[in-house]
Symmetry: C2
Subunit: 448 residues, 2 copies
Amino acid sequence: MNAATSALLADLYELTMLQGYFEEGMDQTAVFEFFVRKLPANRNFLLAVGLEQALAFLEHFHFTAQDLQWLEETKRFQRGFLSYLGKLRLHCDVDAMPEGTAFFANEPILRVTGPLPQAQIVETRLMNLLNFQTTIASKAVRCVLAAPGRKLADFGLRRTHGAEAGMLAARASYLAGFTGTSNVLAGRLYDIPLFGTMAHSYIQAHDKEEDAFRRFAYANPDNVVFLLDTYDTETAAEKVVSLARLLARDFIRIQAVRLDSGDLAVHARRVREILDRGGLHEVRIFASGGLDEYKLQELARGGVPIDGFGVGTHMSTSSDAPFLDCAYKLEEYAGRARFKLSEGKVTWPGIKQVYRAYDSNGKMTFDTLTIKGEAEVRNALIQPYMRAGKRLRPARRLEESRQFVATEVNSLPVALRRLEPVEPYPVKVSRSLETLARAVGGPRFDAQ
Amino acid sequence: MNAATSALLADLYELTMLQGYFEEGMDQTAVFEFFVRKLPANRNFLLAVGLEQALAFLEHFHFTAQDLQWLEETKRFQRGFLSYLGKLRLHCDVDAMPEGTAFFANEPILRVTGPLPQAQIVETRLMNLLNFQTTIASKAVRCVLAAPGRKLADFGLRRTHGAEAGMLAARASYLAGFTGTSNVLAGRLYDIPLFGTMAHSYIQAHDKEEDAFRRFAYANPDNVVFLLDTYDTETAAEKVVSLARLLARDFIRIQAVRLDSGDLAVHARRVREILDRGGLHEVRIFASGGLDEYKLQELARGGVPIDGFGVGTHMSTSSDAPFLDCAYKLEEYAGRARFKLSEGKVTWPGIKQVYRAYDSNGKMTFDTLTIKGEAEVRNALIQPYMRAGKRLRPARRLEESRQFVATEVNSLPVALRRLEPVEPYPVKVSRSLETLARAVGGPRFDAQ
């Protein structure tokens, strides 16, 4: 069973609500929007990611005969309803921000419009896909900003939360500007460049470190990166210098060495010196081991001679903010704006659009959150992607999305690119949206 | 493609190392152990979970023809090596702590013994499975300890890191003592009780809240739980009281109401009073919304009349500690103990066993970390599970593991069951293990 594609990967309440809608004949058009209520403390902006997986999920959504049989066995559902579920295919419209768009609190990044049961049943999985990938891309881009000009490789698979998290973290971090991943399956599925050569165990399994280096080089002549810190980093660097002459005779080039523990700045400087003294100016230094954007920034600002980093756990779990305060909220049903008043959770009602203003240098200056269609300004961020269940265009190539992120990050106000929290980016609310909020929510609307 | 079962869900270095071992003919017996170096700051103990998934992964591991074809296209691997990979099946031995065992820093919870390439190639996925499920179970059991006598349901799927995380979090939290989950597929696959009825959107889609309640009850007569906080919690509770009479005539029983926002303690007391005044003493109160073990403890200690909780994001992402500082370390190859000296990462060498001592009340008093086979004491925690790739016993039923956890938690010293960090549980190191550590590691061994 592949959990990732099962229609049963949903909260039970989606099904019990649908049974209600089925009995009541409630299938008029509903509009749901996915948005983040509040940015995590250490995020000045977020990157919208997950649209491609969301669209694929909507395209292929269906209950299998086995699903239905099992649902019947639970005795929770009536025959007529289950027969309806068996025929259910999705014919929703989807409007969304393109993957990689920078966005802020209260701005919808995805809107689903369709018959109420169809737009409801997908809530859990859509949130699951958008929350995670947006979380990871928004963490990964901080690593990219912290280490300008350095190559970053995703090393996080061993500590991601399961298999799909490993796949989607590789994708989201590449999209955010990483150079590649260690995850072989992600390399295959998403065509992401792969990184990786040897673990400490490889060195340990050999009686002598120099034997491990030499044999690895002959077995993998096009991918020679030596891990230096199994016993003593600088001694290992000296061995690399000796070995280089032998390998050169067989036209094998040492590409890099990797440091994985200790004070990376100190070791990198010493190793650079040893390599340079040995004539190995071309051999790059790669570092890994518990890195996050703060350590990357410290090393990069210190001018430490490290050319690339393997960034694992902290990025691939977004360890300081492993989730977003996000919602998939019903905005309209049967042509009427819907709202709720639950304390601390009041939000902007209605079907919304976001417009973005830029200055003459192409830097973002402010966003306007409006009612959709109210005023046609330039730079509407939410665009059509799916109509009646069919994609309006083929999936965008990951490389294109990655390029889009690079442009997007360049257009951010410089202050927002800092790791430290800064004054929030201005998101203005249009007068008509304020009026609607007052009309439906009374004096208690207090979001923003 | 199902990422969860693919042999390519691995770090690239596993494959480049294997190509080295293949060329060198290095296939003698290797022993790897998985352990946690250091407990997260807010954990007094961990629960070992993930063994079942690890064993299933080892049993079924193989490369498909498509995998091999793609690997060949990468031009990283030689034909002979790929042909060897195609035939590779795992014949490893596995010894491990039973699922649900409480354990501490430096204690191996899983050992893989087999030909070096076989025991190496599975590193990434084994770590991925054990790290995540142990992380989640160890967070979930804190929620269970914080709210004694209350039912807890996993509501976390929307913010887990992808699909597999949602499935495994439902399983790990149930194992840790949760009562059930909202995740339908987890209910199906693991036979976990399901919870869930309606979202705010259900109320919003109806013009009147009382209509939503009534219609839901008739559509789902055996599963009537009303969500009260869409507009005004206490007003909604009054509507429930009125509706109860009508439903009773049709033999429909209201099981519970749910609160999802605001001051849960205040609302629960008011709602309890309204329900009791209306004669609805049997109707339970269920609460959800951003809960973690600290909020649960506060509510439980305050004697708030809440009978059950939906616990989502904080549990299912283990938000305060979303990963473990864990390793899968080569301990022995070709009969010789292996070690590494990398700064800050020195660990106990050799193949180990853990013995647990109990006092006369059945409470754990201390553990002893020893060299395997050195002294046969009672209560060896690491037990045989797989020999030459075959399971020694059928998979333990989840209910049994859940019962085992309950017993295990009961045997913990009382102080360790607190949410606050306490004096670490004593893990003694045997003299022979100390001697081995000094012998192979010199004076720099300083782990523990």
